[in-house]
């Protein structure tokens, strides 16, 4: 067993919270640069250029790309040969969030209950932690801050197997069209198909972590990704919803086996500030 001390986890999370919020991933920057070339609407072009400039300022000054520094979503891939020592791993993660959001001057956006007093917890905790046990003796940590504006426009529907691929397309297009200008387009569309209600939502979220420009390894699914991107970009919404051809930068689909009676589909919408950083301990 390889031992990993919780203090290392805390320190890693602290740094990833700041890094993710200040530095837009390279693949997103590249996708935005390509979008400037492709956008037909002059206003849309200017907006995309401002978005790129914003990312440069954020990186240069070490300030958040977006003031909504998000719900801190943490993905852990815990090797089965790792032994966590020195304390509770969940507490260590939350302590990392606490420190990162304070030290990094990140906004605290979490309230302590969803519909009663809605009092700000003051330190952006709790984090949302998804843990997977994998083989090996490493711990992979991904921090993906998720803004409220785009999360609010996400949707999930329990489709019937008979709805088929056309039903999936219709639901995804409908969700993006309804979202319109609200989720700060250009967006990235994470789609989960299959599993149970929570699994389809989780794989939709995981789809957002996939590098832009890489397609699902299943050629049929990859084809659907390309078709959906094309159709979304015909909706006319455009950058910031002011009209244009670049409504989405990518559609990433993840699938999971489904029950004989079910075909759940989740659409997790991500704004252009598609922030995520990872580290391996």
């Amino acid at each position: 067993m390889r031992e990993v001390h919780v203090d290392t986890v805390t320190k890693t999370i602290e740094e990833l919270c700041m890094d993710a919020n200040y530095n837009l991933p390279e693949d997103v920057k590249e996708a935005l640069e390509q979008a400037v070339q492709k956008e037909a609407c002059p206003l849309g072009k200017e907006i995309l250029q401002d978005i790129i400039k914003n990312a440069e300022i954020a990186s240069r000054d070490r300030v958040p790309i977006c003031q909504d520094t998000g719900f801190t979503v943490v993905f852990l891939e815990l090797g089965q040969d790792v032994r966590i020592v020195g304390g509770d791993i969940n507490e260590a993660i939350n302590e990392g969030v606490r420190r990162g959001y304070k030290k990094g001057y990140l906004r605290k956006s979490i309230v302590d209950d969803p519909f009663l007093a809605r009092k700000n917890t003051g330190d952006n905790t709790p984090a949302i932690i998804h843990t997977t046990i994998v083989s090996g003796d490493r711990l992979k940590v991904t921090v993906a801050p998720k803004g409220g504006g785009s999360e609010n426009m996400s949707a999930l529907r329990m489709l019937k197997p008979s709805d088929g691929v056309e039903g999936i397309k219709k639901f995804v297009l409908e969700s993006v069209d309804n979202a319109g200008s609200n989720p700060c387009p250009p967006i990235i569309v994470g789609v989960g198909i299959g599993g149970t209600i929570e699994m389809t939502a989780l794989i939709a979220k995981k789809a957002l972590l996939r590098q832009l420009g890489r397609y699902n390894p299943n050629p049929e699914v990859a084809k659907l990704e390309k078709q959906l991107l094309e159709e979304i970009n015909k909706l006319g919404i455009g950058p910031q919803g002011f009209g244009g051809r670049i409504t989405a930068l990518a559609v990433n689909i993840e699938t999971f086996p489904a029950h004989i009676a079910s075909m759940p589909v989740a659409v997790n919408i991500q704004c252009h500030a598609a922030r995520h950083k990872e580290a391996i301990i």
Binding site: C41, N54, V63, R107, C184, G238, Q240, G243
Partner: protein, 182 residues
Amino acid sequence: MEKTVHTPLTGETVRELKSGDRVLLNGTIYTGRDAAHKRLVEMLDKGENLPMDLKGQVIYYVGPCPAKPGAVIGSAGPTTSGRMDAYTPALLERGLKGMIGKGIRNQRVIDAIVKHGAVYLGAIGGAGALLAEAIKEAEVLAFEDLGPEAIYRLRVENFPVTVIIDSQGNDLYTVGKKQYKE
């Protein structure tokens, strides 16, 4: 070509702003989002005085990041305006002339914008670092207990916005989309 506009806004200035125009805003504006709007409207319902006179003023829907030492404000981009729709007509009634946010407004708000000769401006969602550079002063005016949701008085210089809904009710979201829909 951008139009330069100074606050407080007059009826005449607002009438000249057309949906799709890019505008550089100068002067004092106020911040306010979900919780602050709720409180403002509750105060109006109770007949209390608001922390600021709304006549000709502009409210920016934003909950900024904390300012780093030496900075005026942290990243400060717009939040989704639709959540303020329930409160907006009451504020327009009190003389509010402009709102800065992002995202669609409901018909009641559009009707109130036309009725009161106001304007809805869009700042780029997710460009909080860029927008913060145009904010030259920031001080908490009211509801400090709300943290990022407190009302701030901001002084802005050439703050970049786009006219989304003009005083005639033209909506860039509808017009722009129609133009590029295939």
